[in-house]
């Protein structure tokens, strides 16, 4: 088995991982990036609408307003120290991206152009503000490309198509990771002073999702199996406008440009749910509103979807009604929403310039994940105890700047702000830290698990088990939740796990690109994540942000201004049989902004 040694190893090459790699290497660290996909295949490339920063290029804007929107959008569960860092450093980070060559769209005076996006307002909720910096509707693609290009320029070392499958600990610290080289099936050890996880989300837990096939929660699952708790796993965002039936995302930027949601009678129903900013209310609110319309039989033709309308005549009618002077035309839409038009035409044969688009909520974004502080250091308990040598950033991390519901454009901000901070902190850390030796046979346990998977000769293919899990999670731990129903969900996940451990079937016995075996291993991660999500969701007896309970409809600030920490009770990474989880609800939300400014105190969310 080969062993590689680097000051810092970054697991994942999306926006967060590449940003951290760039800044750690600029700070003098010897860095390797280990990624199961070629870096440019990472899902950051799919991000569409924009990256939020209070540049104020088109109208007045301030980081303070961005903080307010983020705290309110997160239904007051966000840690306010993290929100402050997010909003303040967003401005600098976006300007740095421009200096790295990112081709932003421009205003008439040559500055970075900005557009409106859900939940982003000026002056503490007064009106929608232009804050999302964009490169047409392929902002994530441009961020990913630009960061990868800069990493090449800085000669960052890449291990492409290496999948990390375990973390190695010794002397109370993280000392490295175990990875499989996909092309050969060989195991490799990565020995490092600092290891960062930036492995992205886990939308593949659910049946309908905007997420890539590769988003299977590997990072959080691997750490969870080694005893590290996961935070706020009950908060998973369903994006309101997934393409009906497919789940592919239609960006919020469509509504930012004036698009309108309509029910079967052509009513702009968001006027009822969010009278002041209507279609641009935060995502949890819009997703629930769509479901309520559908439940009331007001879906299009009584079916499970509504319409999203960006036809110029519709948009202009509502603009006129609102007393706004600007108007849009087809050419403008074709230019600014090119990806959207392409998606609809390719996959549905619908031309959004002449027909409304059928949409329904789609599983989209994990607010929870690996708990960290604002320096991307992983913390393992309610006292913010740091686990030396371990870092996390991006969607897999929970810093928590999004609280119970993330605002659009704030994920890309999260990646660049906390990826950058993590990279800088790592560069300093590795200067003063020594290598802690690897323990004896660090890959033994995970190799045994892979041998088990590969040798499985039962009756269930991984694809079949996965499909069943996705269906159960969509049905029982989706947008609306209720205790009895969720218990049934846990029972299903438990029995699926049992079949996974005892009745799995693998066809591929080879070593070269054994995707059959890797998919099965990823399914194990998804099952762990599903289990954590369900237990955390049952535990939280209130409704807040994306977590909406039919049996506890109100937010409860007296008892629940706390984060959930869920961990494994058995201490066994690959348990057979019953797998009890431990929940800790004593980690208090950081409310530092509120102390100086009462406008940040929890109040009812109206949009």
């Amino acid at each position: 088995m080969q062993t590689h040694q680097f000051d810092a190893v970054i697991v994942g090459a999306g926006g967060a991982g590449l940003m951290a790699a760039l800044y750690a290497s600029e700070g003098g660290a010897n860095v390797a990036v280990v990624s199961k996909l070629y870096p440019t295949r990472s899902h950051t490339g799919a991000a569409l609408g924009g990256i939020g920063a209070a540049l104020g290029n088109l109208e007045e804007d301030k980081p303070l307003w961005h903080m307010y929107d983020t705290v309110k959008g997160g239904d007051y569960l966000a840690d306010q120290d993290a929100v402050k860092v997010l909003a303040e450093e967003a401005v600098d980070s976006v300007i740095e991206l421009e200096r790295m060559g990112l081709p932003f769209d421009r205003t008439d005076d040559g500055r970075i152009s900005q557009r409106r996006f859900g939940g982003h307002t000026s002056n503490f909720g007064e009106k929608a503000v232009r804050r999302a910096c964009h490169s047409a509707d392929r902002t994530g693609h441009m961020i990913l490309q630009t960061l990868y290009q800069q990493c090449i320029k800085n000669k960052v070392r890449f291990f492409d198509e290496y999948q990390v499958v375990d973390v190695i600990m010794n002397q109370g610290a993280v000392v490295g990771t175990v990875a499989i080289q996909l092309g050969t099936g060989e195991f490799h050890l990565f020995h490092a002073k600092a290891t960062m996880f930036a492995t992205g989300g886990w939308g593949r837990v659910w049946q309908v999702t905007s997420n890539a096939h590769s988003l299977t929660g590997d990072g959080p699952a691997v750490l969870f199996r080694r005893g590290i708790p996961m935070q706020d796993m009950e908060f998973y965002q369903f994006h309101p406008t997934g393409l009906y039936g497919l789940g592919l995302l239609l960006t919020e930027g469509i509504r930012g440009e004036g698009g309108i949601l309509l029910n079967r009678s052509g009513e702009r129903f968001m006027e009822r749910y969010a009278p002041s900013i209507k279609d641009l209310a935060s995502r949890d609110v819009v997703s629930r509103s769509i479901y309520l319309e559908i439940r009331d039989g007001k879906g299009i033709g009584g079916q499970n979807y509504v319409h999203l309308d960006i036809r110029p005549e519709t948009v202009n009618r509502y603009l006129a009604e609102a007393g706004e002077s600007c108007r849009i035309d087809s050419a403008y839409i074709a230019k600014n929403l090119a990806e959207t038009l392409d998606t609809c035409r390719t996959y549905l044969g619908v031309d959004p310039l002449t027909e409304p688009m059928p949409v329904a909520p789609t599983a989209h974004y994990a607010m929870g994940g690996i708990p960290t502080n604002v320096d991307a250091e992983v913390v393992i308990d309610e006292n913010w105890t740091v686990l030396p040598g371990l870092y996390a950033a991006g969607e897999c991390a929970c810093v928590s700047c999004h609280g119970a519901n993330r605002l659009g454009t704030n994920s890309l901000v999260d990646l660049v702000v906390f990826g950058r901070r993590g990279g800088k902190v790592i560069a300093n850390y590795v200067k003063q830290a020594d290598f802690i030796p690897l323990p004896a046979n660090p890959a033994e346990q995970v190799q045994a698990e892979f041998n088990r998977i590969r040798a499985s000769r039962g009756s269930r293919r991984p694809g079949e088990l996965r499909k069943e899990m996705q269906h159960e999670m969509m049905d029982k731990i989706g947008v609306f939740r209720e205790e009895d129903h969720m218990r049934k969900g846990i029972d299903s996940v438990t029995s699926l796990r049992d079949r996974y451990m005892n009745d799995l079937h693998i066809d591929d016995q080879g070593s070269i690109f054994n995707t059959d075996m890797m998919e099965a291993w990823e399914l194990g991660c998804l099952l762990d994540i599903a289990h954590m999500t369900a237990e955390s969701a049952i535990n939280r007896k209130e409704s807040r942000g994306a977590h909406s309970r039919e049996d506890f409809k109100k937010r409860d600030d007296t008892n629940w201004m706390v984060h959930t920490l869920v961990s494994s009770e058995s201490g066994e990474p690959y348990p057979h049989g019953i797998h009890p989880l431990k929940i800790n609800s004593s980690k208090k939300v950081n409310r530092s902004l509120e102390e100086g400014d009462k406008r940040f105190a929890p109040k009812e969310r109206v949009y």
Partner: protein, 249 residues
């Protein structure tokens, strides 16, 4: 409806070192189903050894370029109604096959790295601490080529590349174009010199396979043409009339 897939297989660690064809039949297929999802059905329901790369399933990550009915495409961007009920799938040509539809992408990325695919500008940043200014018209000079997702569909459809794997290929030239024509970048000269070498742009014989192969609708041949002109002129300046650049098709 029923569809038949005829797939070019290569399973080097099964003991069989020779490529072969294998057919799979799927029932209950709809015309709007994606080819990628149907390959998944084969893998998930019939034969777990079938191997291919994929991730986003929405045409943005560039993982799943393959030769489908003889033409390069992303499997996730083709629907069954685009390809019919008899579908032949092979790996893209010109790169070594590793297993089934998976090819070795290293030579492709090596060519990419040759053209300095990164922004260079060592001027001090603006004194006000803000962004550099650029007009939207200038930005639009590169809007088309910044669209590239490095899927290799263009390069592996090019007979010049098949004939000579040292040719940098259309994708690398598209990437170079994105920087050469970026009005903020300062390394155009170096890139132009690299592409003037024997394995640079002049291996392009304007066969035009690349443009229809591109799943992003990039005017690949046009970008190559503009780079050729820039080499002739020794500079990208004055090559283009911005009004004639298509933004997206």
């Amino acid at each position: 409806m029923e569809v038949t897939f005829r797939v070019r297989r290569y399973q080097p660690d099964s003991g069989n070192r020779k490529p072969y064809w294998q057919e799979f039949v799927l029932q209950d297929v709809e015309p709007t189903h994606r080819v990628l999802e149907m390959l998944h059905r084969v893998k998930w329901e019939q034969d777990g050894t079938l191997s291919f790369r994929r991730s986003c399933s929405s045409g943005i990550c560039g993982s799943d370029a393959m030769r489908i009915n003889g033409r390069n495409a992303l499997a996730c961007k083709l629907l069954i109604r685009d390809v019919g009920t008899k579908i032949q799938v092979e790996p893209i040509l010109g790169l070594p096959v590793i297993k089934d539809l998976i090819v070795d992408m290293e030579p492709f990325f090596e060519h990419y790295r040759q053209v300095m695919p990164y922004f260079v500008n060592n001027d001090p940043p603006p004194a006000d601490g803000r962004e550099r200014l650029q007009s939207q018209e200038d930005k639009d000079l590169i809007t088309d080529t910044t669209n590239c997702i490095l899927c290799a569909a263009c390069t592996t459809s090019c007979p010049s590349f098949w004939a000579n794997g040292q040719y940098v290929g259309p994708a690398a030239i598209v990437q170079a174009h994105r920087f050469i024509f970026d009005t903020r970048d300062h390394a155009a000269k170096t890139r132009i010199d690299t592409l003037a070498e024997p394995n640079g742009v002049w291996r392009c014989r304007t066969i035009y396979n690349c443009t229809p192969a591109c799943p992003r609708g990039i005017s690949v041949t046009r970008a190559i043409g503009e780079v050729k002109l820039a080499i002739r002129n020794g500079s990208p300046e004055g090559i283009i009339d911005p009004a004639t650049i298509p933004t997206h098709e």
